[in-house]
Each structure stands twice: as structure tokens, then as C-alpha cells.
Symmetry: C2
Subunit: 361 residues, 2 copies
DNA sequence: TTGAAAGCGCTAACAT
DNA sequence: ATGTTAGCGCTTTCAA
């Protein structure tokens, strides 16, 4: 018997169907005279479908240009094989190689990696939590996050995770409740400055983003200060050039120029990042100081391009390959319950370039 | 009356609830004694909610750390205010500034921009179609795609779209059915070579990715050949160095070295991308040829870093700012039905650096 | 091997 | 101002 509500529903449906002209699983099913569940089975490679039906369905899928709706899929699924790589900051040149390595490792281990870029203004933990809900993630790799999580904040994340390229130096997490893979920023900075001191330099300037960002800059700045102290070199604030950025070459150039105008007595610069060194070398050159003849410069990063500059950059190389492998390995072990939380610190390796020389005495 | 199916459902629900411990909108609603629709209204800033209820709900949301499930949201919504920026290739340094500009423009116009990275192996049109389904997109900006779409392929995309930084030079799309924003690659290459010729160079090598990729390399290679022809300079295949890559500095270095070993008679190089020029300069230097004294070099791109190299790179600058603005503007006009399809071509601007000099005769 | 139907979490009618 | 309820498109029991 046809009743009023049937009619209403029919009208509503037809209205909807004209409004949103979407090929969904129902359309595909109807098109080849099978049930939606059968179509679903085919699309998900379930074994218990006859060859005939499978072919029929696949043909319909192709003909109708059917594309499954991932939202609907994720909604009904309780799990997935998806690991998210949550990248904060589009413009970090150090990340691109790391991403490639991580992607390779995760894929080879049989998982699916999803790359998600996020704005610097967003909070990675919130985004991570949301994405976990939404995409039924089984793990998260955070790339480039804050150094100061609290346990409550981290408790938002309900799946295994690893902090890549950063530590919890300014946070309050217990060592047994998070994993991280990074270099020892303070030590690396100390080593960079040591290298300059061992070449006879004592007036060593630092080119940094910020002195107290509770992040990478602050750690490397501390290393700079520590190194000076250990060599009984007085710390001189006038040799500190703050750029306020890691990527804006113009601002870095300007900061270096201001440094020279303020106090041109330095014989060496420690730049906390490769790209900073590039802008600094140009600024020095424009002010008539050649590198390395009139000023030595050491940086941290080890970008590929740094080997192709003139002069090549002397820099502390982050072992990207190893770091990427470690990130993937630790996360997968956590996911498969074969490992525990750990914080891995990698050593940087001095790559000697042409940007330093022994100071004539 | 309680019947058997009620009991079964209850058991099922409780089983599920213990298995998946998710705070969803229902939990929030129960927690503060309102209906789910009220919670939804609060979360979506609907006006018809009393201040009291709103506060109560927001408090519950905070207490329970409730995070809405975007999949469910997108599934039920019929529209959104979301534009996707679909980026192909993580490692294109030219993109990062463009992305920033586009993001700013789209946001300022009141839309939401979602950045999606995709692998080079994926097909951008397919991903775009899927994303449109899934996230109810109202527009797509394709960044770095193929140059050879066919009308059938493009018909997958049901929302307004703009091709950013590429054209349809090798495809079959009618001019009135797609929009693009790019430079004229062939012309730019021609201009680069013209510049070298006007400085007296006639043995001009080209450093390119590929001669016939039906993409950017091929267009720029054609421009190189056209320029030679117009100056009656015979084309010499031994002066073509193919790198097979835009980003692997090592491979570019090697290609340049091989070029020198094969035929060292060139007095200038046209590099189709800034980063290629960087590796080439290093290779030249390592083989005892200085730039610009022993070899001039011109590139295309105008990356920020190119202004900070020694020597600074002479390069044809792509007007990123204008291009970003144009991409956003065209798409928004299409979305708001205030515009039609158009293909915008920008002129590159010669930024004179220190990498070229007049050839002594 | 296949179909019918429940329901994932949410929004948007519609009802009150 | 708030509650009730019907699906969004899909997967997954369960039944046939």
C-alpha cells in the first residue's frame, strides 16, 4: 500500500537527486543490478564475490566515473591502516627530504601515509586529535611542533605518536610517555662554536631567530653561550643578531647588516640555520667582507644546497636519513606494541666547507 | 514496553561504547541535558540558542575535550565554504611563496583554504574529484599539474578550478572551458637566450630536465631552440645537458660535468630553473671555470635565495605576487559567477645579477 | 555468493 | 528556544 509518507519521501528524494547529482554506491549498484553491499565488497577487495559480478561492478564503476566518498568510509570504519604525517610550516627546506624518507619507510611497512600541512598558527595537537577522529588514524608523526607540551595537552592524542625534529625541552612530559627524534640542539650549537674557537676565533657573533622562543632558537642560543663560557670568552650582547625569522632572507640580511654597523669586530659568525648563513654571507660581501678570508661562518642543518654554494658552507649536518628511519621505526613499534616510548637524540656531523678558516694571529 | 530488540540494541551499544571510547555529540548532549541538535546549533554558531544553554554546552565541550568529527559533518553537509589548493610535489621551492599569497587572498575573501599535498605519482584530477565529493569543495586551485588534460579528464572536476603555474599547451581543452595562470614558458626561455646572445654569446648550452616531457621542460627547450634559430645559431645537441630532475642537485651537478667533458666550447648556459643554475655554477667552479668570467649563466624562476648567492643569479623572475592574486581572483569570480574562464599569461622580469657578462671578442 | 538493513556522527528540516 | 528525527554514503553484520 502506498501511503502519504511514501509519496513525500519520493518527492524529497527526487528533489535531492536533482539538486546533488552525485554518483554514489547506490547508483552503481542499481546500474548493474546488484546490492550496495556487493559493490562495497568489490571495491574493498573482499574475496567472496564471483568473478562475473566483480567484473560487472568494476565496469559500472569505470563507466559512471564513480569515486567513493572517503568521509562516509571513514565514518563507518572503526580502524584504518593510516598514519598521518602532520607538518607544521610549509617553508622548512629541511623537511622535504625527511618527508620523502618517512613516506618510503611507512609505505614499505604496509601502512598508508597521509601528509597533512598545517598553518603555524594552528595547534598541532588539536589538529592531530581531530584528524584521528576523522580519519581513524592509527598513528601520528608530528613534524616541527612546539617544545613545551604538558601531559594534559598530550592526552588529546589517543594514538601512538612521535615528535620528529623536536624535543620536549621546555615541556613537562615524563620520559616514559612520549617519543621524539631530534638532534641535541644545544650540543650542536656548542660544537659549532667550539669549532670556530679552535680555529682561533674569539669575537664570534651569533645569527639567530630569537633568544627566548622556548624553542630551537633558544636552545641553540644557550649552546652558543655555554661554549663561550667554557672557553672563558665573555658573552657580548652586541654580537647577537636576531632575525625574527628562519626563512625571510631579506630580514636575515638586514639583521646581519645591522650587526656589522653596531659592532664589526667579530671574526666569525655562528648561524643557527644554513639559509641564515647564505643571507649573512651576502650581507658580509656587500659590506666588503669576504668569507672566509675576512669572516668565518658555521651553520647548522646540512641542506643539500649548502654543498653547492661558493664557498660551500661549513655546517653541522643533521642525519636526515637516519632520523627519518628512526621516526618511522619507533612509531611502527609503538603501533604494533613491540616498543616503548623513547627519546632518540642524533649527533650532527661536521661537514667541512669553504666558509671557515684559521684566524691569523 | 521493552522488547527483545531493545535489549539487543542496548547491549550492542554498550559493547561499542566500551570498545570505542569516543566523545561524540550525543555524549556532550547527555552531559548537559540538551538535545544533540542544540549542541550542533551551538557549535555552528546558530543564533537561536539562549545564552544560558550556549554557555552550558561550551563548558561541556571543553570539559569533555569534545572534537567534532569532520567526516560526519562533511557527509551530511551539501555545501561548504572550502576551496582546496592541491599541490603536486612537495619540493618545489617556487611554490611556498605562491601558497602564502593564495592563502591570504582566499581567506580575506571569506573562504576557507585547505592545503592538500599529493604525490607526483597521483593524478591531480582524480584527487580533486575525490576531495570535492568528500569535503564538499566549492573550488579547486591546482598547483603544478600536467600540461595535457583532455576535456573528458577535466569533466571529472565538477567545481570551478584554476590551473596555477601551468597551461594546457599539450592538451586539447577549449579556451572557454578552463582557467590558468602561468608565465609563457617558451617566450621566457627565448628571452633568456636572447639576453645571452645580445651579450655576444653564441655557444650557449642548455641545462634542462628533459627534452620532451610534454611539460615545462619541453616548452623551455623549444624556446631555447627558437631563440637560436632566430639568431641563425645552429642547434648543437652536444650542448644539451639533461638532468632528469629539477631538485636533485647531485644529478644536476653531474649533468653539467658531463656537458663540460663532452663539449667545453660553450661560453654561456641557460638553466631552465634557478636551482639548476646553482649546481651548474658549482660544477663549473670545480672544473676551473668561474662565473661570470669564464661562463655566463641565466636561469628562470627568480627564487628569493638567488638574490643572495655569490654571484647573484641573473634570472627571469616569475611575478609570484601577481600570479597568486590572479589565481585567487579568477577562481573566486568563477565561484561567484561573476567571471568566465580565461588563461592569463604573465611576463617574466629580467633580474640582472652577477652571473652574466659580455663576451670578449 | 548475494541481499537487507543497521548505524557511524552529524546537520537540518520539522515539530513543539 | 529546544527536541525529534530523517538521512548523508558507506561498511558490516546477519540472513538467505
Amino acid at each position: 500500500m502506498i501511503c502519504l509518507s511514501d509519496i513525500r519521501r519520493f518527492l524529497e528524494n527526487s528533489k535531492r537527486n536533482t539538486k546533488i547529482n552525485m554518483t554514489n554506491i547506490k547508483v552503481v549498484a542499481r546500474h548493474c543490478g546488484v546490492a550496495v553491499s556487493t559493490v562495497s565488497r568489490v571495491l574493498n577487495n573482499h574475496p567472496d564475490v564471483s568473478e562475473d559480478t566483480r567484473e560487472k561492478v568494476l565496469r559500472a564503476v569505470a563507466e559512471l566515473h564513480y569515486i567513493p566518498n572517503t568521509s562516509a568510509r571513514n565514518l563507518v570504519r572503526t580502524t584504518s591502516d593510516t598514519i598521518a604525517l602532520l607538518v607544521k610550516g610549509v617553508n622548512n627546506p629541511f623537511f622535504s627530504k625527511l618527508i620523502k624518507i618517512i613516506e618510503r619507510e611507512i609505505t614499505q611497512s604496509g601502512y598508508t601515509l597521509e601528509l597533512h600541512q598545517m598553518d603555524t598558527s594552528e595547534d598541532e595537537l588539536r589538529v592531530g586529535a581531530q584528524l584521528t577522529n576523522e580519519r581513524k588514524l592509527i598513528g601520528i608523526l608530528f613534524l616541527g611542533g612546539r617544545f613545551n607540551y604538558s601531559p594534559e595537552e598530550l592526552s588529546l592524542i589517543k594514538v601512538p605518536s612521535v615528535f620528529c625534529t623536536y624535543t620536549n625541552s621546555f615541556g613537562t612530559l615524563g620520559a616514559d610517555c612520549y617519543s621524539s627524534v631530534a638532534i641535541d640542539d644545544k650540543n650542536a650549537a656548542r660544537f659549532a662554536v667550539d669549532t670556530l674557537v679552535s680555529l682561533g676565533h674569539r669575537r664570534i657573533a651569533i645569527l639567530t631567530d630569537n633568544q627566548d622562543d622556548h624553542s630551537i632558537s633558544e636552545l641553540r642560543f644557550q649552546g652558543y653561550q655555554d661554549a663561550l663560557k667554557s672557553h672563558n670568552i665573555p658573552y657580548d650582547p652586541s654580537l647577537v643578531a636576531c632575525t625574527g625569522t628562519f626563512s625571510d632572507m631579506r630580514a636575515i640580511y638586514r639583521a646581519t647588516s645591522e650587526l656589522m654597523e653596531r659592532d664589526n669586530s667579530f671574526t666569525a659568525i655562528f648561524a643557527i640555520a644554513d639559509l641564515m648563513a647564505v643571507a649573512a654571507i651576502k650581507a658580509l660581501s656587500d659590506h666588503g667582507r669576504r668569507v672566509p678570508e675576512d669572516c668565518s661562518i658555521v651553520a647548522i642543518d646540512g641542506l643539500e644546497i649548502s654543498e653547492y654554494l661558493l664557498p660551500t658552507l661549513t655546517t653541522l649536518v643533521q642525519p636526515v636519513e637516519d632520523m627519518g628511519l628512526a621516526c618511522a621505526k619507533i612509531l611502527i613499534e609503538l603501533i604494533e606494541s613491540r616498543g616503548t616510548h623513547r627519546q632518540v637524540t642524533f649527533q650532527t656531523l661536521l661537514r667541512e666547507g669553504g666558509s671557515v678558516r684559521r684566524l691569523n694571529t
